[in-house]
Structures are given as C-alpha cells and as structure tokens.
Symmetry: C2
C-alpha cells in the first residue's frame, strides 16, 4: 500500500457545484475506483484548491491507466471538465501535480 497525494485547481466560483457533484459520485465510478485499487480516497477543498489523498494497491500509473481506459471515467471526466482550469501545475513528465510525503506517523 502506498499513500499518494496531489493537487488540482478549480475555476474560480465553481467550488460549490464541485462539492455537490462529489456528494453524489456515480456508483459505477466509485466501483471503478475501488476495482482499480484505490481506497481511503478523500478530496479536500479550500476555495479553488483541491487536495486529493488516497491509498493505492499498485503503482500509480498501473492504477490510473486502468481508470482512464474505462468509458465510465471518460463520461465522469467530461461531466467534471467544467470545473477544472484547463492547465494544471504539472512539471515535465508528471501526470498530476504530485506532493511528496515528507513525514508520516502511523
């Protein structure tokens, strides 16, 4: 098990609608995430900044490739695309703006 964290940014003013969507994530999307090896997945928001935290059962690319190959995810991302700024703050070669875990106390 690995703990993963990354950041995303919303378009200004979309926070509340984003929250509403995430209070009612489609059951088939939840099943896809679970089936791909994700657990203890929380999304935290402050204004336009999102912090995503999750446990993954395999390496991140294996998990995320599985999710992105599924048409349920394609539909979900289309529904969510209204909320996200077009360019996130990734560095060259990064899939998301990952954060490094620098401390852990179990």
């Amino acid at each position: 098990m690995q703990r993963i964290a990354f950041l995303l940014r919303l378009k200004p003013g979309t926070g509340e609608d984003y929250d509403k969507s995430h209070a009612a994530v489609w059951p088939e999307m939840l099943a896809l995430l679970k089936g791909a090896g994700i657990s203890e997945y929380s999304i935290f928001r402050r204004d336009e900044l999102l912090f995503l935290y999750m446990h993954i059962a395999q390496d991140f690319d294996t998990v995320w490739d599985k999710i992105e190959a599924d048409p349920v995810n394609t539909r979900w991302q289309q529904a969510m695309s209204a909320y996200f700024v077009p360019v996130q703050e990734t560095r060259t070669g990064e899939r998301f703006p990952f954060m490094q875990e620098v401390f852990h106390l179990s």
Copy 2:
C-alpha cells in the same frame, strides 16, 4: 475518528531543510502527537506548500490544546519557526487554514 486536513506555507527555499527535520522528528514529539489522539498523520510538500492530513480521536481543539500545552511542542515549534512564513492564510476564527473534505471513498 475524524479526518482533518489543512495547509501551511514555508518560506521560499526552506523546503529541503524542512524535509530533513521531518525525517528525524524527536521521539518525544511523536509520543506527544500519538498521546493527544493523532494517527495516520502525513505531511506532503510541493515547493513551499504543505498539506497536513491526520486522523483525530477527539475534536480538533481538544487535541491541539493538549499538544500546545506541552513544553516539548513549544521547543519543537521554536525549532521549526525558521521555516514558516509569519502569517498563514487563516480566516477569522480559524486556528489553521483548514480544508473541507468534499468526497470520501473508504
């Protein structure tokens, strides 16, 4: 059990020293955190942005009051004060810039 998350900002250029300090947190500081009811505590960093995630056994103020009343914490915060910007982005009445959990998948 409650999941808590908040943000902190470091002074520019202090990230690597911050990481080193947090790879060697004093055993008495770890014991204080544990004893106050904190578990699954991770700190993630990207550049100067820190994201703190933890599980707490009681309400946040009860847990944090216990920590702040202990001289071990006073010494630890003195040692860490070199890294933090003097004013964090709290709103009126906030102890830290908390993030709201808007989604959770166990």
